[in-house]
């Protein structure tokens, strides 16, 4: 049975077929959810919610061949909603990736910059964070992203530029902080961004 036939059977209410069809896309989903969320628990939660919505809505999908696009649109929606919820719940949590920080010397600068980037991306508004994720982490083209977000190409381009601009500003601000800490001495390079308890 082909992808489309699975999807067709799924639309007609065949649960087994739906699971089979999901099986074909699950790795791609996980990659997107994880790239956006940057942790396993949130990524899995987003996928669970996505499957739930797919299960309920599947019969409204008119074209079996659009299953992948349709499901990724739902996933993206779920991811972006989660972000908003989390933001409300814990607005100031910046970084907690302790295991990544045990590097020293010049590597630490790269690691720090990278960590910093991960943190800054996380703090972006959901739509900016999503375009950055899809463009730079998942290597999608602007038209692809526009289609998934159901926005004109121009809008996506604007979001991307604004996101990069915000990241640049945040980067320079964060670097100053980092250097301030280093100036204070004591292993600063190794633990630049641990949240204070």
């Amino acid at each position: 049975m082909s992808k489309e036939e699975w999807a067709k059977a799924a639309i007609q209410g065949d649960e087994a077929a739906l699971l089979q069809r999901i099986e074909l896309d699950k790795l791609q989903w996980y990659a997107i959810a994880y790239s956006y969320m940057r942790n396993e628990t949130d990524a899995l939660e987003a996928i669970q919610e996505t499957v739930c919505r797919i299960w309920i809505k599947i019969r409204t999908l008119r074209e079996p061949r659009f299953f992948t696009t349709w499901s990724i649109k739902i996933l993206i929606r779920v991811c972006m909603d989660t972000k908003r919820k989390q933001k409300r719940e814990r607005p100031t949590k910046v970084i907690a990736m302790h295991d990544e920080i045990n590097t020293i010397g010049s590597e630490s600068a790269i690691a720090a910059e990278r960590l910093d980037m991960a943190a800054q991306v996380k703090l972006l508004p959901a739509n900016y964070r999503m375009v950055i994720t899809l463009k730079y982490y998942r290597d999608m083209t602007i038209p692809e992203i526009a289609m998934l977000l159901e926005k004109p190409d121009g809008t996506v381009r604007t979001w991307l530029n604004k996101a990069l601009k915000l990241l640049r500003m945040d980067m320079s601000a964060a670097k100053e902080e980092l250097w301030d800490e280093q100036a204070k001495g004591h292993n600063a390079g190794a633990v630049p961004f641990r949240t204070t308890k």
């Binding site: 049975m1 669970q48 739930c52 909603d81 990278r114 982490y137 320079s172």
Partner: protein
């Protein structure tokens, strides 16, 4: 930091690039088992949010032999040592461990050596079909089988099957198949283990013999085997309950319980004289004296008027006491209706203003109306209501009635963030005299009132 702008841009792009490299490294450690669990969890969540749709679909296809699946969705249960030991002792059974460990009725039956070995194989043109064994009682039959052949693996298309009684008659039951474990690499061709799960319809006896045909490589392979009724003849407990409870002022009677090794069935009936409609129980479960819970994943019918629910079986645990519990009851007023104007696109009257006409779309086959049920709290959101009677009618202002074209049952869409459920109904294209009135069968509403009915 007053670096030139493009340097900064480059720097952030290279930071993003580094970030991506790390990300790819992290993605290599994808937790496949957890991912599969999340997918199954999502399906279960979806089922809970749309119980109503699901039930409708079963009841429509019940006697034709519904192809649906619940066993996979019951989540992961740890393999007990006893279970593992029995599985090891019976050759050919190890392939089924992953499949049935989600179903506590089956695990417990296998631990108690309730399995009937069959071990019949047929082979044709390089394809082999084997029935290793069965589990059978008065209500449920589980057939463990294996398919092998060129290009057969877990990615192979859903295999067509046909199930007949020994005399060649239809098996009146809900039949489920395709319980593939999905957390392993797929080889090019490998034996595929699966089971058919046959839930006999109410009051239909278990056949004496079964003819099971499977389509492999374009040809039908058939195995006929007997079901040894001796094995379960005495293993059935019929309990007349006839216990009527009052919930939210409504009378509901738990009628009978049937306890067999593979299933517990309990039937319910709502009193036709009730002044509200009972829609469903909230969190229905069986609990024994040790606090063990037996959940329910399937059922035939509708609480109002008649419902049979299937529970995981407590048979081999031999509990001294068994109690049916629920947190409350979904119910709604009788004789509700909604009146809308599909020209002006307005909702004229609706019960407590929760239900609104949102949009219409003309298609080749009719007019698709979208209604939203809004402002639902978490409990209200758990149920997909049968708003309008399936294949029912509505009327326009002149009193003329028209059919609702919902050939596929209630279609609903759930939205977590907006606390609403959207419903889609198709009506014919016609020259209506506005407004239009639709009678409502089920509507959001519930009482939280702990229900407890001693079964034994």
């Amino acid at each position: 930091m007053n670096k030139p702008k493009d340097t900064m841009r480059e720097q952030s792009l290279s930071a993003l690039q580094n970030e991506k490299v790390q990300l790819i490294r992290e993605l290599e450690m994808m937790p496949e088992a957890a991912l599969d669990a999340a997918i199954r969890g999502g399906m279960e969540k979806g089922k809970k949010r749309s119980l109503r749709i699901r039930r409708k679909r079963w009841s429509m296809s019940m006697f034709a032999g519904a192809l649906c699946m619940f066993m996979l969705l019951t989540g992961f249960v740890r393999v007990s040592p006893a279970f593992a030991a029995v599985i090891k002792d019976i050759p050919g059974l190890s392939g089924y461990v992953d499949l049935i460990q989600g179903d506590r009725s089956l695990m417990s039956a296998i631990e108690n050596e309730f399995i009937q070995p069959v071990n019949i194989s047929v082979e044709e043109n390089g394809y082999t079909f084997t029935v290793e064994g069965i589990l059978a009682d008065h209500q449920r039959l589980v057939i463990l089988y294996t398919a092998e052949g060129p290009d057969i693996n877990r990615d192979t298309e859903l295999m067509n099957y046909d199930l007949k009684t020994g005399e060649g008659g239809e098996v009146a039951a809900a039949i489920m198949s395709s319980h593939y474990p999905s957390n392993k690499q797929v080889a090019e061709s490998e034996p595929v283990h699966d089971y058919l799960d046959v839930l006999m319809s109410d009051g239909i006896p278990m056949p004496e013999r079964i003819q099971f045909s499977l389509q492999l490589g374009g040809q039908w392979l058939k195995i006929e085997f007997p079901i040894d009724h001796e094995r379960f003849a005495d293993m059935r407990e019929d309990i007349k309950l006839n216990q009527t409870i009052m919930v939210g002022g409504q009378r509901i009677t738990a009628k009978d319980a049937i306890i067999t090794p593979l299933q517990v069935s309990i039937s319910f009936e709502a009193d036709p004289a009730n002044d509200k409609r009972a829609n469903h129980f909230i969190q229905l479960q069986l609990v024994d004296e040790k606090g063990r819970r037996y959940e329910t994943n399937s059922g035939f019918g509708d609480l109002d008027p008649l419902l049979t629910r299937h529970f995981k079986s407590s048979y081999f645990k031999r509990p001294k006491k068994l109690t049916l519990v629920a947190d409350g009851l979904y119910l709604s007023d009788l004789n509700l209706s909604v009146t809308v104007d599909t020209d002006q696109m307005s909702t004229i009257t609706s019960p407590d203003n929760r239900l609104k006409l949102i949009s219409k779309e003309e298609t080749a086959d009719g007019i698709d109306l979208k209604f939203d049920l809004q402002g639902l709290d978490e409990t209200r959101q758990q149920l997909i209501y049968t708003l309008f009677k399936h294949q029912g009618h509505f009327r326009d202002a002149s009193g003329k009635t028209y059919p609702i074209l919902d050939t596929r049952g209630t279609q609903a869409m759930w939205s977590a963030s907006d606390n609403k459920i959207s419903y889609f109904y198709r009506i014919p294209k016609a020259d209506y005299k506005q407004p239009l009135t639709f009678d409502i069968i089920q509507y959001p509403g519930y009482v939280m009132e702990p229900i407890s009915i001693p079964i034994k």
